[in-house]
């Protein structure tokens, strides 16, 4: 590391980009700087290559804050590229910072030691070789700042190399004001703060740079993702480990990766806490306007993503829209039609997986032929009120729901979302009735009511199922269930002292019986089969554990208890059947009534239609 002679500034003065400030450079400084500059920017390029400059800056081992500041101060931000003047000033500033001076123009007027760069000794490293394959495009500061984002991952800079050439021509049109606004936001990435959103933002950023041919995929949405954490860097590195896992997605820019999806979902939550509801048009407009895309483009994005044209975005629609915005910011042209991977149906199906993993016990789902259905139901239960149902579809919903209650193996995907959510709601009611889960019961009832309010269909039906079903019968069943549980427990208790040892195991069995039913509760199975198997399983548990207990208990009592348990199960099933049958008949009636009304309205309409002129 050469330390230039302290005194004797030489004649060479660099005309600084900062308002004509003349910067005296010592000979050694000048030599060093020009050497560095030529390394970063082999002639005949006029400007230094972005990544190489970034690498160099990073090698100075200054914190990212400082580097950003330096970039700003040296004027590269303003002009948008690192010309020789900016470069020299930046180097001087680096030297100043390394010596402990604040990053200011004033500080570099003094004599300073040369800036120190780690690993500069290895000049022949490939690192500088590859950046030297220059794009022939002006370095854009956002690019460097993006690399500063991935502060510790120098290889990412390399990876970005080949991608930036195709990107930059597209991105160079954006006016410098947009460059400016990207930079402060990207600065935020470099800074170390904490926050959940930032972590999501970061993987989203990284994901983009890794997978999409991008450059300044800056954190758009204003203050929200502005701050990243040191954990950000860690998460970045963690994220970088996985890029290859989703590498097969990288060729399809319209495919949403998991991290992106999570980020979108979090953003959705910030706008609308209920994931199953939708974002209204104005809210979405404000949100997407922050992305600083031109209004016509936003308008087009909206058109593409709001497939049902209701002026509101459900979660998949929102993800699609967000993804399109992101893609556009990265330089992709917007498609004319919505790509298949961004269709709401596709996104809903895709969102199946993460929901499933976190919620369910797979053993139960696999045991059912309608297991797929069950999973879908659980997912749609979570996403159930996603769209305001087409209310003409409400009729068919009622019908379909009956069919599904009776048949098990209706393929779910063919049923449009509206059906799903309504069937799941009634399913939720049924399962609630049996599982005594007040929380989801109220949820389903309110969502039904919401749907009805928005519906065009004249009021009638849906309140009815609730009253008859969720309240009355559910309470009964609730009591019965508890009674059964009581009975079972009490059944176990009377065994005389000789049976004492088995009691703990007995209680275990009862406890075992409870947890298996819990996951099924969450799964919200609608099929009667679904209702039955959990019923059977506790009994199976009981019966299977019985042999273990056998030696301790008298045989007769065992079998009677078995019988009792089975009878309980049978009774419950019968009740469930009765409830479902009642529901079925009620819905059929409602269907008929609505049909009649519809016919009446249609005839009225025909009558009222004005006679044609001429």
């Amino acid at each position: 590391m050469e330390q230039g002679p302290a005194g004797g500034s030489a004649a060479a003065a660099a005309a600084a980009g900062t308002g004509g400030l003349l910067l005296p450079l010592s000979e050694s400084e000048q030599q060093r700087y020009s050497e560095l500059f030529s390394r970063c920017c082999p002639p005949p390029e006029a400007a230094a290559g972005g990544s190489s400059v970034g690498e160099l800056f990073r090698a100075s081992q200054l914190p990212p804050d400082t580097l950003h500041q330096i970039t700003e101060v040296c004027g590269a931000k303003r002009v948008g590229y690192f010309g020789p003047a900016q470069f020299y000033i930046a180097l001087k500033l680096i030297a100043a910072a390394q010596s402990g001076f604040p990053v200011r123009i004033e500080s570099i007027k003094n004599e300073l030691p040369l800036p120190r760069f780690m690993a500069l000794k290895n000049d022949s490293e490939v690192r500088y070789g590859t950046p030297a394959e220059l794009h022939g495009v002006k370095f854009q500061v956002p690019h460097a700042t993006l690399e500063k984002n991935s502060y510790k991952r120098t290889d990412e800079g390399d990876k970005q190399e080949p991608k930036s050439p195709p990107m930059s021509p597209i991105c160079s049109p954006p006016a410098s004001p947009s460059t400016y606004q990207r930079i402060p936001l990207s600065y935020g990435y470099g800074k170390s703060r904490s926050g959940l959103e930032q972590q999501h933002a970061a993987p989203y950023e990284v994901r983009h740079s890794a997978h999409q041919q991008d450059g300044p995929s800056s954190g758009n949405y204003g203050p929200k993702p502005a701050l990243a954490s040191s954990t950000l860097n860690r998460s970045l590195s963690a994220e970088r480990e996985q890029p290859e896992s989703s590498a097969h997605y990288s060729d399809d820019p319209w495919r949403i990766t998991e991290e992106q999806r999570d980020y979108y979902i979090n953003q959705f939550r910030s706008l609308q806490p209920d994931l199953n509801s939708f974002i209204s048009g104005s809210v979405a407009k404000n949100f997407f306007t922050k992305s600083k895309l031109p209004i016509p483009e936003l308008s087009h994005i909206w058109e593409l993503s709001d497939v049902d044209c209701d002026g509101a975005l459900t979660l998949p629609e929102f993800c699609a829209a967000f993804h399109l915005v992101v893609a556009r910011k990265n330089g992709y042209q917007l498609p004319e039609t919505l790509p298949e991977t961004l269709q709401p149906e596709y996104l809903q199906a895709a969102s199946l997986k993460p929901m499933r993993d976190c919620a369910l016990f797979d053993s139960y789902s696999e045991s059912l032929p309608g297991g797929q259905q069950a999973r879908d139901f659980s997912r749609t239960e979570k996403a159930s009120a996603e769209e305001v149902p087409d209310n003409s579809a409400l009729l068919q919903d009622a019908k379909k729901e009956d069919k599904q209650a009776l048949k098990v193996s209706t393929p779910l995907k063919t049923i449009p979302k509206e059906f799903q959510h309504l069937t799941v709601k009634t399913a939720a009611q049924e399962s609630n009735a049996l599982r005594a889960r007040p929380r989801s019961r109220s949820y389903s009832s309110t969502s039904i009511e919401d749907a009805m309010k928005k519906g065009e269909e004249p009021p009638t039906p849906p309140p009815r199922p609730q009253k008859s079903h969720s309240r009355a019968s559910s309470l009964d069943l609730n009591k019965i269930f508890q009674q059964n549980a009581q009975a079972v427990r009490s059944g176990w208790l009377p065994p005389p002292p000789p049976a004492l040892p088995p009691r703990p195991s007995v209680s275990q069995e009862v406890v075992l019986a409870q947890p298996p039913s819990k996951p099924t509760r969450r799964k919200l199975r609608t099929e009667t089969q679904g209702l039955e198997t959990p019923e059977l399983s506790p009994t199976i548990n009981v019966t299977s554990s019985l042999p273990a207990v056998k030696p301790h208990l008298p045989v007769q009592k065992q079998s009677s208890k078995q019988k009792r348990a089975i009878q309980t199960a049978i009774r419950k099933n019968k009740e469930a059947n009765a409830v479902l049958a009642r529901l079925n008949s009620e819905l059929q009636q409602q269907l008929k009534e609505v049909h009649k009304e519809r016919i009446a309205l249609e005839t009225q309409l025909e009558q009222l239609r004005p006679v044609t002129v001429l």
Partner: protein
């Protein structure tokens, strides 16, 4: 030959104009402009029945070139005007009505877009596609 125009109240300036083929466009514009008066007249005529679902306007047959001008008014007083060539006798009333209905539906879809300010010109690609396909069908 087909030309469709959407005009919005209150000043009746056009939000969207599309014509096939593109020559003599100015003449069509003029025609549409004059027909707006007739449309307004019709609206005010049936003042009681506020909701005028569709109105079929058959008129303005010029002596030299004959073509028909159809009008349609939505609930919000947005006027759709269509000019078709009379030589195109294949076009029946129902078809015109269905075309207007399609226009109306697409227009409402545009309205749903929060980024669209009512009163702006319509630049939606989806709308353009729809209108183009409609016109292709006719010509």
């Amino acid at each position: 030959v087909l030309l469709s125009i959407i005009c919005s109240p209150p000043q009746n300036y056009p939000l969207y104009i599309r014509s096939i083929p593109t020559e003599n466009e100015l003449k069509f514009h003029y025609t549409v402009h004059t027909s707006l008066d007739v449309v307004d007249e019709k609206i005010s005529a049936m003042g009681k029945a506020l909701v005028d679902q569709r109105e079929l306007y058959l008129g303005l047959l010029y002596p030299t070139e004959d073509y028909k001008v159809y009008g349609y008014v939505t609930n919000s007083k947005v006027k759709f005007v269509m000019v078709v060539d009379s030589s195109n006798t294949a076009l029946r009333d129902n078809e015109i009505r269905s075309m207007f209905r399609k226009l109306h539906n697409s227009y409402t879809d545009i309205m749903c877009n929060p980024f669209y300010n009512p009163g702006d010109r319509i630049h939606s690609r989806a709308f353009d596609n729809m209108v183009n396909s409609m016109m292709m069908q006719v010509c």
